[in-house]
């Protein structure tokens, strides 16, 4: 990402922030506060990940007065967030924040990161305090049982039309998913979170309704298994999070272990294709989700792409053919649609699966060749 148009001191701090913050921060709504654009761009909005969502803070530098620390405007919901005035144990953070501002050095590229990290910590503490003050016995009880878990973030949300809700982002499973997959697949640790949303302020004499639950994960985990496919254990009457979470984690653990073992099932399938299709041009060695082969039908040479989902072998692979000889003037090669209308049983041996697909493609490749030749002659 380039930050053209910013004066160098702002650009340096922004770059450092983006590159060193532990999660992905977005920068939007860039503008200049000056009457003329002589100083350059000096205002922007940061979208900072918090509680499986984003908080949006406006950062206001003054390009004409670089020595001053930037002003920060928080969201409209957070009128009561005053990091400079936090007291109590949280107040230590408040004084740390005051020091960052008073010691501001515009030439130090690390300052903006320090400021944002400290503010985010303060924000977390502020939200925790607000949630703690909510007048709801059940919520208070729930909080007391799970607060000891590391890494929980919480947030009160309310709007004009919406009822007050408390949202929790609970990181699950201590297990290091990254280490479970051979081949060091991911640069960043993959994590799974449970989002728990409680309505606030309703007093029930009978058993309270379950909170809204949603599993979320870091994006790249999808190569291993799809978080949407995980069936959440049911929330039984009278349950609390302290009971539900270990239950969920046990089930997730099993799911992850099973997904890891399915990688090798896909691996064996790709290997079983090679006696018939030859060595692949390229195959995904870590998740075994795709493989491309080179095949021929007469003098017609084409690619065969296999796409193998995490639901394999329940779900059969999708196959696509791509000509190596027919391209449009823009250079786009002729491709077949995704093919999956071939005989299939998840219970077959991998070699039999391969044979059935091979037989199907012998016929299908003739259709494809005809289709390619009809639109334009072969080179």
């Amino acid at each position: 990402m380039s930050f053209d148009g910013f004066p160098p001191f702002i650009s340096a701090q922004l770059h450092y922030l983006i590159n060193h913050f532990h999660e992905k921060i977005k920068v939007e709504q860039v503008s200049s506060g000056g009457k003329t654009y002589a100083g350059g761009l000096d205002r922007f909005t940061l979208h900072i990940p918090y509680c499986l969502d984003y908080v949006k803070w406006d950062i206001i530098y003054n390009a004409e007065f670089p020595f001053a620390s930037p002003d920060i405007i928080f969201g409209p919901e957070d009128e009561d967030f005053h990091p400079l005035h936090m007291t109590g144990s949280v107040g230590e953070g408040g004084s740390k924040f005051r020091n960052i501002l008073s010691d501001w050095n515009h030439k130090d590229p690390t300052r903006l990161l320090a400021l944002i990290q400290e503010l985010r910590d303060q924000y977390m503490a502020y939200q925790k305090k607000r949630v703690g003050e909510v007048d709801d016995d059940r919520l208070t009880f729930e909080i007391s049982t799970i607060c000891s878990r590391e890494g929980i973030e919480m947030q009160i949300s309310s709007g004009a039309e919406k009822p007050k809700e408390v949202k929790f982002a609970v990181p699950l499973m201590d297990m290091n998913i990254n280490k479970m997959v051979h081949g060091f697949p991911w640069r960043h640790p993959q994590k799974i979170y449970l989002q728990v949303i409680y309505p606030v302020g309703k007093k029930y004499s009978s058993t309270p309704s379950p909170p809204r639950l949603k599993l979320m994960s870091t994006a790249e985990l999808g190569a291993l298994f799809s978080i949407e496919d995980v069936k959440l254990p049911s929330w039984l009457d009278g349950m609390c999070m302290a009971e539900y979470l270990p239950h969920l984690e046990e089930s997730l653990q099993k799911q992850v272990v099973e997904s890891v073992s399915l990688i090798d099932v896909r691996r064996r399938f790709i290997e079983s294709l090679t006696p018939l299709f030859g060595r692949p041009l390229e195959a995904d060695p870590v998740f075994c989700g795709k493989a491309t082969f080179l095949a021929s039908s007469g003098s017609f040479v084409f690619l065969v792409h296999f796409l193998i989902s995490t639901q394999f072998p329940k779900q059969r692979p999708a196959v696509m053919l791509q000509s190596s000889q027919h391209i449009s003037p823009q250079g786009i090669p002729k491709k077949s649609p995704l093919l999956s209308e071939y005989p299939w049983s998840p219970r077959w041996e991998a070699s039999q699966m391969a044979e059935r697909i091979f037989d199907f493609l012998v016929d299908e490749s003739l259709n494809f060749k005809r289709f390619c030749n009809e639109s334009q002659p072969q080179h």
Binding site: R279, E282, V301, G331
Partner: protein, 272 residues
């Protein structure tokens, strides 16, 4: 005509298959394939196209020069490679007496590939030599940058001259990138020496290539042969077998009726 290497080589690379035989299904000395759980890197592929006047010689298809076919083949290659993995990137250089940049930035954008390919044009005068040293220098320099981004660098040299043997000076310990070669030439005759040129290319490949490099040659001027060989160069260097064990493309035919060669069979109808 049979190209065979006059040098003893580790593999049998010198012994090229007879031209015209397509789809050799034998798996010479093939070991059962295993897909090892080792991560592979995305590629930075540097095309170096010989733009000597000999690239303007016509292919068997009238009105189509070697350079025309090469341009098409590069477009197909880039599209194919990106459909396998959209993270691969490409840059372009040309070779006349020595190599020079055509498009230096590696990019996975197809539009910019089309623009670079369009900009390929041949020199009017034939160069008296082909020095690959600068190409290897450029490649080695880029390879360091690629490696810093967890990528690997590959050079695909497309060479067109039938009598000019390329030469190079390179330290034998520097194997920083993979080198593949596609060699288009005239039929051998008293006035040329494609065999010697081929040997020099094999020499260069074995000298500098980090992973197993592949070399293909064709003298009969059919564009589809060029396309076929270029498709075989789609192989990811970190997942290759020795060239002599290559058994692709496999013909998709019903097992009982495998033809002797890969050409379309024209069956005479049998009247009953």
């Amino acid at each position: 005509m049979r190209m065979s290497s006059s040098r003893p080589k580790e593999g049998n690379r010198g012994k090229m298959k007879m031209e015209g035989v397509e789809g050799d299904a034998s798996a010479g000395g093939a070991v059962r394939y295993t897909l090892n759980p080792t991560r592979i890197s995305s590629e930075d592929i540097l095309f170096c196209v010989d733009v000597d006047a000999e690239s303007l010689l016509e292919m068997k298809t009238a009105g189509v020069t070697r350079l025309d076919s090469i341009k098409q083949a590069i477009l197909v290659f880039v599209n194919s490679k990106l459909s396998i993995n959209p993270d691969h990137r490409f840059a372009f250089a040309t070779l006349s007496k020595s190599a020079s940049w055509l498009r230096k930035e590696f990019s996975s954008d197809v539009e910019s590939t089309i623009a670079a390919v369009r900009a390929l044009s041949a020199t009017t005068v034939s160069s008296s030599q082909a020095d690959l040293t600068n190409l290897f220098r450029l490649a080695a320099h880029e390879a360091k940058k690629s490696r810093a981004q967890n990528r690997i660098l590959r050079v695909i040299l497309i060479y067109c001259r039938s009598s000019i043997r390329p030469h190079h000076q390179w330290s034998v310990n520097q194997k920083l990138f993979t080198l593949d070669v596609m060699y288009l030439h005239d039929k051998p005759g008293p006035d040329n020496c494609p065999q010697a040129v081929y040997d020099a290319l094999v020499d260069a490949l074995e000298h500098v290539s980090e992973y197993e490099g592949y070399i293909h040659e064709s003298g009969h001027g059919l564009p589809r042969t060029l396309f076929r060989f270029m498709s075989m160069l789609l192989c990811h260097p970190q997942q290759r077998c020795p060239q002599d064990d290559c058994d692709i493309p496999k013909p998709l035919v019903k097992k009982a009726a495998e033809p002797a060669n890969g050409e379309d069979n024209v069956h005479a109808s049998i009247s009953r």
